[in-house]
């Protein structure tokens, strides 16, 4: 976890004993994405808008960057949070280093949801939008 001036970032990074090409497929092919992330209508095309739907919530997204076997980036909007998810693949001697960075956790967004504790109407309206689409 890192902290920039006014936004925060979640970073998860792992060394994997698999080829760049194989990991790229898992990150960019809809049926494979569904197996580890969520149901989706993803396409590896810049500008493509798609949704991710889990049993817990839905995400609106748009593809920002596609560099095969190297980098993938898309927006990630859910429950009032606007963020960007960026995947970076780097070849290592034993496979691939996979890094996921989700950025854009602005301080005011954190506070908006802290405030939700005292503003039930607003909180439930947001919850309704996210969770309601699933039932």
């Amino acid at each position: 976890m890192m902290q920039a001036a006014d936004t925060k970032t979640v970073i998860v990074e792992r060394e994997m004993p698999h080829s760049l090409e194989k990991i790229w497929r898992a990150l960019t092919q809809g049926p494979l994405i569904e197996e580890w992330l969520m149901k989706n209508d993803f396409k590896p095309v810049v500008g493509h808008r798609f949704n991710l739907r889990g049993d817990w919530g839905a995400v609106d997204a748009e593809v920002l960057l596609v560099e095969p076997n190297k980098a993938l980036s898309y927006t990630w909007d859910a429950m009032g949070l606007k963020s960007v998810v960026t995947w970076t693949l780097t070849a290592t001697s034993t496979g691939t280093n996979l890094r996921m960075e989700q950025s854009g956790f602005r301080q005011d967004q954190q506070q908006a949801y802290e405030g939700a504790k005292y503003g039930w109407q607003k909180f439930f309206a947001a919850l309704e939008r996210v969770a309601g689409g699933l039932s």
Partner: protein, 107 residues
């Protein structure tokens, strides 16, 4: 103790459960009977929903004589309100699933 964010969201994805939690949040402590009256949902169904809400810590039950009084625990929503924690947990579990998938895939 906090439940997994996704478990909380999953619990609240049911509209009846969401309505129960919202009502307890607004109106305070209530019995199953009081919750049952206006909703048109049967008492066993309401009890089942309360059980699910209790499981993730969103609702607490206090026994008084023959009645149990239920109240909302807004603090249980903390994992949803803290996005950084939410997504750290979320992505780590998704990386686990991705690694499982990669093991099953052909080269």
């Amino acid at each position: 103790m906090h439940a997994e964010p996704t478990a909380i969201l999953k619990t609240l994805s049911d509209p009846t459960r969401r309505a129960i939690f919202e009502r307890l949040s607004r109106d305070g402590e209530m019995t199953v009977h009081a919750l049952t009256d206006p909703s048109g949902v049967s008492q066993p169904a309401i009890s089942k929903h309360l059980g699910a809400l209790k499981l993730v810590g969103l609702v607490r039950g206090r026994r008084d004589g023959r009645e149990t009084y239920y109240s909302a625990e807004p603090k249980a929503l903390a994992p949803l309100i803290d996005w950084i924690n939410f997504y750290s947990t979320f992505w780590n579990s998704r990386f686990d699933r991705l690694e499982d998938l990669l093991k099953r895939m052909d080269q």
